[in-house]
C-alpha cells in the first residue's frame, strides 16, 4: 500500500499560495529527501502530509486514508524542527519520553510489553545507557535519537523529520544520518526535510524539490543534474558532497 499520496495539493495563507499543485507518491521503504530554498513551503507541505493542515484544494492520504484521520497519523512518527528547544526545562527522562509513544490514550496501567518495547527502541537507536537521564541534559544528537526511539516504540511505519539537525554538531549529524539509513534499510519509510542538498543526495534514495511547486521528484542520484535543481536554486549553485567519516 502506498504510504502517502498527495494529489494536486494547493495551500496558501490568505491569497498567497505557499504550496501549489503538488502531486507526490511515497511508496513503502522510500527514503525521501524533501529539499527547497528557504520559504519554499517545505514545512507547510509536511504539515499537510501529517494532517495538521487541510489543503485548500487537492487531497492528502496516508496509508489510504485522509491524512487528517487519527487512524492514519497514528502510524507516523514525527521529529520536529529544532529538537534542542523541545521540552527544554521539563524534568522528563528519555524513558518517559519514549514511553509516551506507546499509548497516547488514557489508562491506568502499563501493558507488559510497554517496557520491553521502550527498551528495544532505546537499544535500536543506541541510547539505552541514557534511559534514565533527563532529556534536557542531553546533546542535540542524543535528543534526536530519543525522539526517534519514541517513534519506534509507537511502531511507526513512516518517520517524518523536519530539519532535525538544526543546532547539532557535524559529527553527531553524520552519525544521525547513518542511523536513518540503517532504519530505512530495515524497512522504515522516511521523509527528511533538509536544506543541505549534499546531505540529502548522499543519504536519501529519492529527492523531492519544492519551491512552491514541485520542481523535481525522482532518484537522488539524478537530482544534481536535473532541470528541477536549476529551477529551484538557480544555475550558479552546485552540489558539493564531502565525506565526514
Amino acid at each position: 500500500m502506498t504510504v502517502a499520496r498527495l494529489a494536486d495539493v494547493t495551500f496558501g495563507y490568505g491569497d498567497r499560495p505557499v504550496v501549489e499543485d503538488v502531486s507526490l507518491r511515497i511508496e513503502p521503504g522510500t527514503f525521501l529527501g524533501l529539499l527547497g530554498p528557504n520559504g519554499s513551503g517545505k514545512s507547510t507541505l509536511v504539515e499537510l502530509l501529517l494532517g495538521l493542515r487541510e489543503p485548500d484544494s487537492g487531497t492528502v492520504e496516508l496509508f489510504g486514508r485522509p491524512a487528517t484521520a487519527t487512524s492514519a497519523t497514528q502510524r507516523v512518527g514525527y521529529v520536529q524542527q529544532d529538537v534542542t528547544a523541545t521540552a527544554h526545562g521539563v524534568p522528563v527522562t528519555v524513558r518517559e519520553v519514549v514511553a509516551t509513544g506507546r499509548r497516547s490514550g488514557i489508562g491506568l496501567g502499563g501493558h507488559d510489553d510497554d517496557r520491553s518495547a521502550v527498551d528495544a527502541a532505546l537499544q535500536r537507536v543506541e541510547i539505552a545507557d541514557l534511559a534514565d537521564r533527563r532529556l534536557d541534559r542531553l546533546s542535540g544528537g542524543q535528543k534526536q535519537r530519543a525522539f526517534i526511539a519514541r517513534a519506534l516504540a509507537a511502531e511507526a511505519e513512516l518517520l517524518v523529520l523536519d530539519e532535525p539537525t538544526v543546532g547539532v554538531d557535524a559529527t553527531a549529524r553524520e552519525r544521525f544520518y547513518g542511523l536513518l539509513a540503517d532504519l530505512n534499510e530495515a524497512g522504515m519509510t522516511i521523509v527528511l526535510v533538509e536544506h543541505d542538498i549534499g546531505v540529502v543526495t548522499e543519504h536519501a534514495t529519492r529527492v523531492a524539490c519544492l519551491d512552491r511547486q514541485l520542481h523535481f521528484h525522482g532518484p537522488a542520484d539524478d537530482f544534481a543534474d536535473s532541470a528541477g535543481f536549476e529551477q529551484a536554486y538557480g544555475s550558479e549553485h552546485h552540489v558539493l558532497c564531502h565525506d565526514h567519516s
Binding site: 497519523t73 526545562g89 521539563v90 527522562t93
Partner: protein
C-alpha cells in the same frame, strides 16, 4: 505512574472522595479523634480544635492537588492561568453572594465560583485554539474581565458584599466549614483520580504538542481537561489561600523542585512534598503567630524556592 501505582492512587482517591461525599460527619469525627489523640500525645494543642483540623485537612488537600496540576501547567508555560482563573473565581464569588443576598436560593459562593471558573477556563482554551489570540493574551483578557465583573457586581450591591468578600480575597483559617472541607476533599480526590488516569497523554502533550497531535492524541481535549482541573484547584484552594494568592501553589512548588528532579514523576512527587511543607508549616505559623494564613503559606513556599535555587547555583558553581 506506570503499572499498579495509578490503580492504587485512583482507588485511594475514590475511597476518600466517597467518604467525604457520603459520610462527612463520620469522616470528620474520625479526623477529630485521630488528630486530637496525636495532638494530646505530642503536646500540640491546635490539633484538638475542630477549626484547625478542618484548616489542616484543607491545606493538605491544596498541597496535593495544586502541584499535581501545576506540574503540567508550569512546563507548558501556562503558569499565569491560575491567576486568571482566580480572578474570574472572584466574579463567581460576587455572583454567588449577590444571588444569596437577593434571593433565598441556597447558592454557595464557592459553587458559583467553581461554575464561573470552569466556564472561564474553557473560554481561555477556546480563545487560544480558535482565534489568533495567543495563550498569554487570552489569560490576560480573562483575568481582567473576571476581576472587572467582580468589582462591578460588588458596586451594584451598594457595597454590601464588600464586607463578606474579604475572606475570599485573603483566605482564612477560621471560616472553613465542615461542608467546605468535605467539598475540598471530594475535589482533590477527583483531581488526583483524573490526573492518574490521564497522566500519559497529559505528559505527551506537555513534552511536544505537535508530535502528540500526529500520534493521535486529542490535544484540545486534554487542554480542556487541564484548564478545567486548574479551575477546580483554584476554587478549592481559594478558601485557605484567598483569591490573590491561590495561583502561587500551582507554580512555586513545581518551580522549586524542577531543576533537581530526576524525572517527571519524581518532580510531581517532590513538588507535592514541597507544597505540604509550605501549607502545613504555613497553617501552623499562621495559627501560632496570628498572621494571615494565605500569605504565610506562600512566603514559606517562596522561601523553599529561594533555598533550593541558591543550593542549585552553588552546586553549579562548585562543578565549574
Amino acid at each position: 505512574m506506570i503499572g499498579a501505582r495509578p490503580r492504587a492512587v485512583v482507588a485511594g482517591a475514590v475511597l476518600v472522595g466517597t467518604l467525604a461525599l457520603v459520610w462527612p460527619t463520620e469522616l470528620f469525627a474520625a479526623v477529630d479523634s485521630v488528630a486530637c489523640g496525636v495532638g494530646g500525645a505530642v503536646g500540640i494543642e491546635m490539633l484538638c480544635y475542630p477549626f484547625m483540623q478542618r484548616a489542616l485537612v484543607a491545606a493538605i488537600c491544596v498541597g496535593v492537588a495544586a502541584p499535581l496540576v501545576g506540574s503540567f501547567l508550569v512546563h507548558r508555560r501556562m503558569a499565569m492561568i491560575g491567576d486568571a482563573l482566580a480572578h474570574t473565581a472572584f466574579a463567581g464569588v460576587a455572583i454567588g453572594l449577590l444571588i444569596g443576598s437577593a434571593t433565598s436560593l441556597p447558592i454557595s459562593p464557592y459553587h458559583a465560583a467553581l461554575v464561573v471558573a470552569v466556564i472561564a477556563a474553557l473560554g481561555i482554551e477556546a480563545l487560544t485554539a480558535r482565534t489568533e489570540t495567543t495563550g498569554d493574551v487570552s489569560m490576560a483578557i480573562v483575568l481582567a474581565g473576571g476581576f472587572a465583573l467582580g468589582t462591578v457586581l460588588i458596586s451594584v450591591s451598594g457595597g454590601g458584599l464588600s464586607v463578606g468578600i474579604k475572606q475570599y480575597l485573603f483566605g482564612s483559617l477560621a471560616t472553613i466549614t465542615r461542608d467546605n472541607a468535605a467539598l475540598l476533599l471530594v475535589l482533590t480526590a477527583l483531581v488526583v483520580a483524573v490526573v492518574s488516569v490521564a497522566y500519559r497523554p497529559l505528559l505527551s502533550v506537555t513534552i511536544d504538542e505537535t508530535a502528540a497531535t500526529v500520534a493521535g492524541t486529542n490535544v484540545r481535549r486534554y487542554n480542556r481537561l487541564l484548564v478545567t482541573l486548574t479551575a477546580v484547584v483554584v476554587v478549592a484552594a481559594m478558601q485557605i489561600l484567598g483569591i490573590i494568592l491561590v495561583a502561587a501553589m500551582l507554580v512555586v512548588p513545581v518551580a522549586t523542585v524542577a531543576p533537581q528532579a530526576r524525572s517527571f514523576s519524581h518532580a510531581v512527587a517532590l513538588s507535592i512534598v514541597a507544597a505540604q511543607v509550605a501549607v502545613v508549616g504555613g497553617v501552623t505559623v499562621a495559627y501560632a503567630g496570628g498572621v494571615a494564613v494565605g500569605g504565610t503559606i506562600v512566603l514559606l513556599a517562596i522561601a523553599l524556592y529561594g533555598l533550593t535555587t541558591l543550593r542549585g547555583r552553588r552546586t553549579i558553581t562548585a562543578s565549574r
